[in-house]
Each structure stands twice: as structure tokens, then as C-alpha cells.
Subunit: 267 residues, 2 copies
């Protein structure tokens, strides 16, 4: 995998973009490992026969996605980096937000993806949770028993609860997806939260917590299913109260809990 980097001739347009693409491909295919240093800006400029400014712009394109980081100083340079998960999730949520505004995705798409993913996180959390995970899940449930809390704070606790479950599932990929969806919630959600009955929601959260605590995936999924159904019903109600003629009514997929849904080889 430690092949040399072989630059190709540039076309006449978009020099910085072409250089960035070549470097990106090289990084993906292992020419440089994470932590290794790329050529300096001056060397790249020389290699591709462009000015330093153009080479810099190419590196900026890579640094925007966290593929590389730059450091100044005598032993500085540009280094292959491992993208930060939160940054990636933020970029994802930015994209989702724009898709939503452009009408390329609907609220229903985002909600559906969220429930699908979280349903499985709940299952996995019940199987893999550590005592520490349980603490992290329990804390926001108990804290949200204070019903005089500000709505924003209460929502933060809700997010904390769901995030803790996601983490307990111990799958980085699923966690990334959930984080992105959570981050794009403010852009997509908002209207229905005021109509929720906090005691009901908190009870449902507690039921989920208890099932996870019992390491009972099926019970956890059922509890989560009830939670989702309640939220969905409140939402339908709200839509019905409004002039809902043009709003597409959300239809959640009937998600079966799945004793069978666990195919993956054990670690």
C-alpha cells in the first residue's frame, strides 16, 4: 500500500480542484497513512507546475473535510488526519438541512431514518450496555422529572437520553448517522415538542431505560416502539389541528422487533 504518489497532468480548468482530487485519491488508496506528512506547498506547486497559492487552495479543499490538517513551524506541514466524527456529522447535517430546504428530502424521510436507526440502537444497547452506559442513560431520565424546567433544557435532556442510547449500542457508524440526524433536528423539527406531555414522555423513556438495564432487547424495542407511536400520534394530532390539507401525513413503518435481526458475527 505504500505506493509512491504519481501526479498526473492537469487539464486547463480548475487546477486546484484537480490537484485536490488526485491527493484525495492518493490518500484513500494509502499512499500516505494517517499521521504522515504530505509534500510541502512549495513542493506540490513545483510538482504540478502551479503557483503556491493554487497548491494551497487544493490543500484547503482537503482540510475542509478533515482529511488533512496543517501545522506551522519548522517541522510543520500538511498531515493526513483522521476526520473528527462530530465534524463529519455536522457536515452531514448541513447537507441534510439544505436537502430539506430544497425539498429533496421530507421531514418524513428524516424521521423514518431516525426511528429505523434508533430502533436498532435500542436493541444493541440492551445487548451491550455497560454499567457506565446505564448511568448515562438514567441521568437525563431522572433529571427530566422536574417539569418546571425550561423547554429548551428539557429538549437537551431528551437529546442526551437518545445520544446515550446511541453510544451504548457501540457502533461508530450507527452513532455517526444518529448524530447527524440529531444535529439536523433543529432544522427540520420544532413544532410538535410543545404539545408533548412531559410526564408521558419521561415514563416512556424510563421504560426504555429499564428494559435496557434488564438486557432485554425485545422489551426495549417494544418500549421504544410505544414511544415512537406516541410521538407520531401527537404529531398527527397537531397536523390535524392545523390546516393539514397539503401536509403529507407521516406513516411510520411498522418496525418489527427482531430476535432474528442480529446476524452479525460476534466480536
Amino acid at each position: 500500500m505504500a505506493d509512491a504518489f504519481v501526479p498526473e497532468m492537469l487539464g486547463r480548468r480548475d487546477a486546484s480542484g484537480q490537484i485536490a482530487r488526485q491527493l484525495r485519491t492518493a490518500i484513500s488508496s494509502g499512499v500516505w497513512e494517517p499521521g504522515e506528512r504530505l509534500p510541502t506547498e512549495l513542493e506540490l506547486a513545483d510538482t504540478f507546475d502551479v503557483s503556491r497559492a493554487t497548491a494551497r487552495e487544493a490543500l484547503k479543499l482537503l482540510s475542509a473535510t478533515g482529511l488533512v490538517v496543517s501545522a506551522r513551524g519548522s517541522h510543520g506541514g500538511t498531515f493526513v488526519s483522521v476526520p473528527n466524527a462530530v465534524d463529519v456529522a455536522e457536515q452531514l447535517s448541513d447537507s441534510i438541512g439544505l436537502w430539506y430546504r430544497a425539498g429533496n428530502v421530507t421531514l418524513h424521510d428524516v424521521d423514518e431514518a431516525r426511528w429505523v436507526l434508533e430502533m436498532h440502537c435500542v436493541d444493541l444497547a440492551a445487548r451491550r450496555r455497560t454499567p457506565r452506559d446505564l448511568e448515562a442513560i438514567k441521568a437525563p431520565v431522572e433529571a427530566s422529572r422536574d417539569f418546571n424546567m425550561d423547554i429548551a433544557d428539557w429538549l437537551d435532556l431528551d437529546l442526551e437520553f437518545h445520544t446515550a442510547i446511541t453510544k451504548a449500542a457501540k457502533n461508530q457508524i450507527l452513532e455517526l448517522a444518529m448524530t447527524a440526524i440529531h444535529l439536523s433536528r433543529p432544522a427540520t423539527n420544532t413544532v410538535f415538542v410543545e404539545l408533548l406531555d412531559r410526564a408521558t414522555v419521561t415514563d416512556q423513556h424510563e421504560a426504555i431505560y429499564l428494559a435496557i438495564s434488564d438486557s432485554d432487547p425485545q422489551k426495549a424495542q417494544e418500549a421504544f416502539q410505544r414511544h415512537v407511536s406516541y410521538l407520531d400520534e401527537v404529531r398527527r394530532q397537531a397536523l390535524a389541528d392545523l390546516n393539514a390539507s397539503e401536509v403529507i401525513v407521516s406513516t411510520l413503518p411498522a418496525i418489527r422487533h427482531s430476535a432474528a435481526n442480529r446476524p452479525i458475527a460476534a466480536e
Copy 2:
């Protein structure tokens, strides 16, 4: 076109990054809608009291994630854009690939996420597939009955099959996630495919297709479950046949930075 853009004073370090963050926030919060034009490079440079080159670099940072596009010409400029789904998926898969190489995610994480997501895509596909979707799912199944085919071509058909199912589920978010995972497959997988029995795999594919064709979500999930179980078993077998320590080396190159390399931390 809600609020005006209010630039903030810059700190002393990383001017282009700070400008990019401000613009990014402004775009996310709807200061400019998709399609609208941002200030010109010269105007931005003037606004933030930096040189044009620095303003340009800030815009490059945004264009790298597809948040904006630039156009030359008299009525050119930098415009808010809706990121292309495939580009976003590619960036995601690049990140996943690097996480894998750095040991932050395992093959197991990626596989598990894939099966979790696809299990639900299969369910949704059975509910929502159009006749056209069915065609797209059926074609690669029939084509892969030619067992003399090159392994690479056969793999392409496999990908085509799974992609068609994903599309039939009609959820952009899930489709994005699946695309990213599929794109990162070459970086993570490919060891076990040679051990598969093509006839078995194709039969399983056909069973999934038939269930989707029957609009029977449960049967479809069960068929998919059998497919996954088979793949999982082959993989276990392969792992058992090899020396475990070798496998770890070859499939999970535990890359650690040499002392000379700069430790990576996104700020």
C-alpha cells in the same frame, strides 16, 4: 432571505477558517437560500478586512463540502448550492475508510450498520416498490446467473442489486447511508467474496426479489436474513481456516503513528 448577514470580528489565527465558519452558519440558518448569491470575493475581503486570497480560501472551504459553487463571468459569483448526494456519500466513505485504517471502526461495525440499514430497506422496498423498481432489482439477479462471469463483474451486479433495493425503499437518508457504506466496501472488505457459492447467493437474491415483488415485507426480511446468515457463515469459516493472528494483520492494519509523526487533533 430571512435575516441579514452580520459578520463578526476575527481573531488573530486562522482567518479563512473563521470566515468559512461564519458563512457556513449563515447558510445553515437561512441567510441565503439555495441558489442565492453570496457576496463577491472582493466584497467579503472588504467586509472582513482581509485580502482577496484569504476570502477565496474561505469560500474554497465551503465549496469542498458542496455548500457553495462558484461561477465565472459577468454575472458569476458564489452561490449557495444543494450538496450532491453522491459527493456527500463519497466524503463519508472516505472518512469511514480512514477511521477503519486508524482502527477507530472495525469491519464488524461497518458490516453491522450495513445489515441493519439494509434490513429496513428491504422492508420498505417491499412496501413501496414500483414496477420500475422491480425491474431494477430483477435485472442484476438474472444477469448474475451467468457463472462464467468475471468476479469483478459479478460483484458489480451484486452492488447493483443491493443499490436497487435501497432506492426502492424511497428514503433519501437511508439511501445516502447505504451508498456511503457501499462506497467504503472496497476499502474494508473483499476478502471473502471468492469463497462464496454464486448459485447460492443468486438464489438468495432471487428469494428477496420475489418477496419484494409480492409486497411481503416479512417474507422479504426473512429472505434477507437468510442471505446475511449465509454470508456471515462463510466469513466465519474463512476466518477459522486462517491463522487468526494473520487475519488481524491483513484485515485490520493497526496503524500507529511513528514517533516522528505529528499527532493529529482537529481543533
